[in-house]
Amino acid sequence: MKKGFGLLLCLLAAGGWAAPCDMAQQTPLRLMEQELKRSFKILKKQKPPIYYLSYTYTEGEEYSLAVAYDGVAVSQQNTTSLAEVLARAGSPKLDNTHALRAERENWTIPMQQTAVPDPSDSKGFLSSWWALTQRAAETAQQDLSRVESNVRSMAHTRDQSDDFVFPPKADYCHTQQLQPVDLKPFEERLLAASRLTLGKEYVLGSSFSITVSQGHRYFVDSRGTRLKTPYAFWRLAYQVAGRGQDGLEISRDGIYDVSSAEQFPSQERLLADVQKSLEELKELSQAPEGTPYNAPTILKGRAAAVFVHEVMGHRLEGYRLKSADDGQTLSGKVGQQVISPLITITADPTQTEFKGEPLRGHYEYDDEGVKARPVTLIENGVLKNFLMQSSPIEGFPLSNGHGRKQIGRRPEARMSVIRATASKTVPYEELEKMLIAEINKQGKLYGFIVEDLGGGFTLTSTGLPQSFKLEAKRVFKVYPDGRKEVVRGLDVVGTPLVSFNKIIAAGDDDTLFNGSCGASSGWVPQSNIAPSLLFENLEMEKTRKNDFKPPVLPAPDVQGGKKK
């Protein structure tokens, strides 16, 4: 009794209302299953056979509102009704999804997808699936011929695991009442925030937006799996940007991920945050340019979360170990110490929130219909596991529910809710003291505190060094006497194994960074949580600059152009 009550509370707290979900009443699932069974019966007898077939149907709604400089730029809403078909031709041992060598075509081979009519009329709905299935089957057979030829002619890859392992059959239905969305009340709030950017000579561009995406995903496959799961992403975001006379671009931003409109920040908090970002942008615009240096460094909360994601997270995606083109940094290292023994890294898509904030990386079943589950990837520095989809790698024959993708792409093992924890933590203030002590110990002129890491890249291809270069969007030089100075124009660079072994301490300030990550299976929402991390040293180098100066004239609202 007590347990039941607790479950109800959790569902309410997660946002929308959980509605009864009777599998028999789910028309899309019923029709999809009907057409899939009818098609698969014939397709599995073709030569080569289609040995596995899955249908995914995404039914939802999208809202977006974007403003800048006291004006609305975008205000729109759409419904989504998209069908996707994945056909696998050949056999689990070798199928059409096998990575080709010396060919680039299959890097982003799309899944067959199309907009479909409402399932209320079965004829229109079913004929769309029929046409899409035909296309998917034809393409799969054609791709398989190419794969077979490629396998015969090209050098063998080290990992000879099968291309596919059948996902376990699942039957799950979760309906969530979609929340009514009215962005009109937020228009004035965003406009008021946008007005804060006017008259600031250091602001070259700005944007303020709210996006809402909510609906349900239906999945059926030829193994008999039937799933219906909800999704809901609500986000308020802003960015203010500038550019120095030397072409160096700077920016500050704010992102609020919530589960419902009521959870968006209050207007007072939003305005205060924007004001703070503007002050930071101004400070950056006047800051001296940093110079390349190798020194003790703290990556603070959000920066540490981005660092874990970019530098180690991608290398834990299992499919990479099958690609001959991938650097496979962690290949053959299971059971070995690969990073600092202080650190444990887990992935847990079943987690719904962190400190009251929803996790974008949460889901119940992955895009291959496999139930999500927590995985310990690295424990006290020792490699234990990989993020797995339904494509085995040596030593890891099964999916752990991380096959993910953007609509229109094929699933690959991707991150979900990635969390780095430390076996020993100290309060952040203590971590800064340790940094200063380390600077002095090493006799360095200064060290760094990186508050925010932005875009960048992690190279994982064998043709390039296994390195990373991440833009330090807000970084302080910290002198041996504890004095701090903001500098601009630095990137954090290095190689993964070296840098992760340089972690010598961690804070107790676990911080969440929600984002979307782009790779060959497209953009997927994910979450990263990490404490502040102290590195014995990290290398900084110069950021790439824009070729263009800021505009010749100041912004019109700065100069005092005619008012309306």
Binding site: L43, A68, T79, A115, G124, W129, P556, D557, K563, K564
Partner: protein
């Protein structure tokens, strides 16, 4: 005395606008940023901005779609997007950056979409665009001068001619409140008609209402403001014909903007389209053919677009340090006074015309994008080329602009036609035209000839047409044919027009270079010789699984 002359000239050159600028946030922002640009935008050592043009395109649209009777992806509310285009010519009227293809930049205006609609937002975006356009123009100016020195180009013709002040103002109507339920029901019911043909793999209908509000201002004070309204029903069908070839067809049907659609009429047109899909399904494959072809009005429109308009556009080549020749220039550039089309035809461009027989013309351009009032052009008289579209950059034989400089996101203002009318000197009634066609076929001792309902895009003299009618000379009966590969189609065919019909129809096209809309109004045309070969496309395999 001379001391007074200069101020007087400046006054005369100033904004002696007959009508005031329309009062709205777009013109307020454009005027204020334009003023600042002309007065203050300078980089020491670089040429000044000489001529600047701004255009706002505010597009509002709402659509409804259905497939086989049920709704597909809906946008329940109208959607608006405001885009800005800006261009700057640096230098002077005599020598400026225009007409030079800079290898570091495309020959395109600076563009921004999803612009925030507020005075401050518009000013901010105009400021950024103008700055980028000026930097590009100053760079182009220097490179153009260096190129001219290298090529010893000493022509003293000014780069940019003067033009009288122009303005055009039309009230901008609000986007209509559409009865969404009615239009959704309309597309549902029309698309449900597709269920009668079991071989159709897809059949969809959509209604799209689109209103493009255009606002233009240049640094000489020329301006325009008007709306382009478009409402249309689009029918789309796809099938695999009896030989296994995948075929598809699209039909655009103009709807009245301000009146409810006539359901009976639309059902009849949908049925006609379905009949055509039935014919496509039953069609037989084309065989080699050389002989007369009767182009129905829509096909004649395509023929004129592909062979005449494309060759009359862009008569002034861009200078380029990378290429000796400008491949975008039409072949008719040097053919003024020569016969380019059958002597039976006159051809006009009428940019000021907004409608023809109640249907909107997509090339409507009252004032062009260099601030010049667009003029009607007698392009061809009795088959001879008598005029070409011109912008303010003069060309041989046309020293002033005739208001045809059109700009898009993909190209700075260039001389492009808008609404082209083909007018036969001796139009024949439909029956007489068909009789003339069959007589010519018999004269050539052909078993059959062709009627084209559409004309394909021609590239390198070739084009693929997926449907035509074969007409037998013996008894005049018709058979549907698919897979026609047109060969050796050149401007020669324009001179092979033997006769033309009486009833003109409007066809709409998009210019392949600028992607600007244009319309062609033409009757049916009888062309003496077109070469046809069977398509080299291969049929598709039969579907693994039958239709549900």
């Amino acid at each position: 005395m001379n001391r007074y002359l200069l101020p007087l000239c400046i006054l005369l050159a100033g904004p002696l606008t007959a009508a005031p600028l329309p009062e709205n946030v777009y013109f307020r922002a454009m005027q204020d940023e334009m003023h600042r640009t002309q007065k203050e935008l300078r980089v020491p050592g670089n040429p000044k901005p000489f001529f600047t043009g701004y255009k706002v395109i505010a597009t509002t649209s709402q659509g409804f779609a259905a497939r086989f009777g049920v709704p597909v992806v809906q946008s329940p509310t109208p959607r608006t997007n405001v885009a800005l285009q800006a261009y700057v010519y640096a230098g002077t009227a005599k020598k400026n950056s225009s007409g030079f293809e800079n290898d570091a930049y495309y020959y395109q205006p600076d563009v921004s979409s999803m612009v925030p609609v507020s005075y401050e937002g518009l000013r901010r975006v105009l400021w950024r665009l103008t700055d980028a356009a000026y930097v590009a123009a100053a760079n182009s100016y220097e490179k153009k001068e260096a190129y001219k020195r290298r090529k010893n180009i000493t022509d003293t013709t000014p780069d940019f001619t003067s033009a009288p002040k122009s303005e055009y103002v039309q009230q901008i109507p609000p986007f209509p409140q559409l009865d969404g339920a009615y239009y959704q029901q309309l597309v549902n019911s029309l698309s449900a008609m597709g269920k009668q043909l079991p071989f159709l793999e897809a059949f969809s209908t959509s209604v799209l209402f689109s209103q493009r509000d255009l606002y233009f201002l240049d640094s000489e004070g020329d301006f325009y403001q008007y709306s382009v309204l478009s409402a249309q029903l689009v029918l789309t069908g796809s099938l695999r014909n009896r030989d296994g070839y995948k075929e598809s067809a699209v039909e655009n049907i103009a709807l009245a903007w301000d009146q409810p659609a006539d359901l009976d009429d639309l059902q009849q047109k949908t049925q006609t389209f379905l009949d055509q899909l039935q014919n496509m399904y039953q069609a037989r494959k084309a065989e080699p053919y050389l002989g007369p072809v009767l182009l129905e009005p829509k096909a004649a429109g395509g023929f004129v677009h592909q062979l005449f308009i494309r060759n009359a556009n862009n008569p002034k080549p861009l200078l380029s340090a990378q290429r000796e020749t400008d491949s975008t220039v039409g072949q008719f550039k040097d053919k003024l006074g020569m016969r380019v089309i059958s002597h039976l035809l006159d051809v006009y461009d009428r940019p000021q015309m907004s409608h023809y027989q109640g249907e909107p013309l997509r090339g409507f351009t009252p004032v062009d994008d260099e601030g010049v009032t667009a003029e009607e052009l007698p392009l061809v008289q009795s088959g001879k080329l008598t005029a070409l579209p011109a912008a303010r950059s003069p060309i041989e034989g046309q020293k002033r602009s005739n208001g045809h400089a059109r700009m898009s996101d993909w190209v700075y203002p260039r001389a492009i036609l808008s609404n082209v009318f083909v007018e036969p000197k001796q139009p024949l009634p439909q029956e007489a035209l068909e009789e003339r066609f069959l007589d010519r076929c018999r004269e050539l001792e052909l078993e059959y000839c062709y009627i084209f309902p559409r004309f394909p895009a021609i590239n390198g003299g070739k084009g693929e047409l997926n449907f035509a009618w074969r007409v037998y000379t013996a008894d005049g009966h018709k058979e549907p044919v698919y897979g026609l590969r047109l060969e050796n189609i050149t401007t020669r065919s324009l001179r092979d027009v033997l006769a033309a019909g009486q009833e003109s129809r409007v066809s709409h096209f998009t210019d392949s270079l600028s992607r600007l809309p244009l319309s062609v109004v033409t009757p049916a045309l009888l062309v003496d010789e077109i070469e046809i070969l069977p398509t080299q496309r291969k049929p598709e395999r039969k579907p693994f699984v039958s239709l549900p």
